[in-house]
Symmetry: C2
Subunit: 418 residues, 2 copies
Amino acid sequence: MLGGAGARRGISRREAVGLAGALGVGGIAGAGLQLAAGDETPTAAPPPTTVPLGSVGSRIVPFRGARQAGIATPTQRQSHARIAAFDLLPGVDSTELKALLQRWTTAAAELTAGDGGDDMTADSGPASLTITVGFGPSLFGQAGIPAGARPEALAPLPAFAGETLDPGRSDGDLGVLVAADDAVVVYSAIRRLEQLAAGTARPRWQFAGFTRGRGVTTNEGATVRNLMGQLDGTRNPKPTDATFTRTVFVTGDGWMQDGSYLVVRRIRMLLDDWEKLDVAEQEKTLGRKKDSGAPLSGGVETTPANFGRLGADGRPMIAENSHIRLATSAFNRGAAILRRGYSFADPQPGGGVEAGLIFLAWQSDPRTGFIPIQQNLVRGHDRLSTFTRHETSALFAMPGGVSSGGYLGQALFEEIGR
Amino acid sequence: MLGGAGARRGISRREAVGLAGALGVGGIAGAGLQLAAGDETPTAAPPPTTVPLGSVGSRIVPFRGARQAGIATPTQRQSHARIAAFDLLPGVDSTELKALLQRWTTAAAELTAGDGGDDMTADSGPASLTITVGFGPSLFGQAGIPAGARPEALAPLPAFAGETLDPGRSDGDLGVLVAADDAVVVYSAIRRLEQLAAGTARPRWQFAGFTRGRGVTTNEGATVRNLMGQLDGTRNPKPTDATFTRTVFVTGDGWMQDGSYLVVRRIRMLLDDWEKLDVAEQEKTLGRKKDSGAPLSGGVETTPANFGRLGADGRPMIAENSHIRLATSAFNRGAAILRRGYSFADPQPGGGVEAGLIFLAWQSDPRTGFIPIQQNLVRGHDRLSTFTRHETSALFAMPGGVSSGGYLGQALFEEIGR
């Protein structure tokens, strides 16, 4: 049924390639563009260079499947996102919680298909809307959900030296990530979920973020810059990597089968200080060239960093305390995360703007993902941390996908016999 | 030179139409879409339905011309905007102010052409970036700008019953509107202008807004919904109207020749209350059907409202206190404004979201534009005002455009002999 909706509103990859072929134009080098509704697997075929107007808005990412959408699909993240946490109201029981998850399931299936009876979404098309839902550590032990059902991997994150977290904008019983290529669609969807939570859960915090316009940019598929101006995500795991699935998704571990753990950090950038550095200093801080993203050891953006390479001064070209050295998988016993963050730039009273990164990292287990990487960054006195502040933190277990007739989190309720 | 940049990075209307022709596809009914660089005048030719990928990002709206861009161009407003006010630092003189306007001119010309040496803009294309600059009433009498140079039309707005304005987020010596179809481009440009103001002016307030994704939506060219879900802007003046130019742009009046006055109001929507109304009540409040935007007197969205038409109950089908009746030009001695507002939805501490409209209204004179319309809405107890709160207010005189070799506000400096 969803495939039918996709065929009706969207444009298939085959059709798009056909159009490009008719025009005699070639592919875009290096683009990892997702064009077709339901295109969950990467393909080697070059993407088309010409598309029908509105085809970005009409794209559908299927809500149902073995895994939730919005984690590894679409391959390139959407342009806009909001992430929100909710806390259960006092006295809510497991029946009410399950009913909320069922309401959210129905709404998410409709909205993501562009069939929600919602004027705002209908006007713009679903625009690759994804809605991804999960559970925070604090949910377990509440509302009839036994503390013992909490996976070991969902233990609250440890404290990290140097962070000053705002508890009111951290944690939460439920986490919801909404993303789409149209900011109105994102707003409309998260508002709907909030309305459906009434009487069961209340909003705890929400962040709104943006990245380069998918379908708008002249540079589709290329790595996107963060608000420091740095290409961010060059070494992200790719769906074509042999290790991709085990890096991102849970195998085994009961109700979390096919799920993923999401770490959320609002990382403010001290841009006034950062922008006082000259470009060479900024590059030493990261370990990469600012314009091209190439590692300072040479090559192009995609060239693996050569951490052993010494400069004329006999010191490593990529400094010991540079961000990419400390964060790289090789120096963290293989720890890897899939980063799909969004920039934020929130106007403040007094005329200033708080800007930075809503860091979103997906992994099969934070104990072999975000935690050791962040610990290594702290231990190594990451040079970038002078210019960033981790202000909030949350961890959510995002369970596996929703089958036909099923609902979000169903495996958890079945496991605990509710 | 700018035309050359446009030809290099953009796609001309001729090329776009040629592509559409090659595919044998027709136009989009009712679309007022601007596709080509430099397309400042509306044309009857139907826009193409197929565009090259990235063509939305590569669009250029020329910065130089008789009028500033961002007022009536592009015809359909861009997807993202930030508006900011700046106050002069104490002791700044007219030479320093002029130098700031010259720095802003250079930066705006480069950034809008996609040639700013700015990685973030270069990555996404200028995406129809426009930068529009003007002066608040408080500028006059400062920095060597005589109080007498302030046009009568730039008198501070009168107080309106029912409003509670936040002075810290109202007014300002200088006003800057930045808009583009990519949120990163908008952020990057306003950040650059802020950096260039250092030492001369400090930020006073900033708002960030969004509307439906231009080039993304499946409904290009159609009226866009606000966050109440209502089609908003149906009766906006159109460039093809005989009265358009005199409604929007100044003729005569010295240095404001070819300029326009911008009213900015952050209007918060009380959506919790609004969404408790059933659709019929919402429609009575506005005077239009919610789904189609048709007036309650019948027809389709574009049908003129028949305010005299009575229903079966003998009362006007469009209620006396409905928003469209009180705001309509016919009941305000012809007063008209060009609205190009943006939605906002700013997350707040405690988990809530402040949402509404960054109302932006352009006119040749606020005394025959926003002021009488707003006074009539207040006098008539506009039913919509139950659900809205005007929280901030600003008025800026946005002067005429910048000629080759000229700078923003040059006519003012020449008139006062500075």
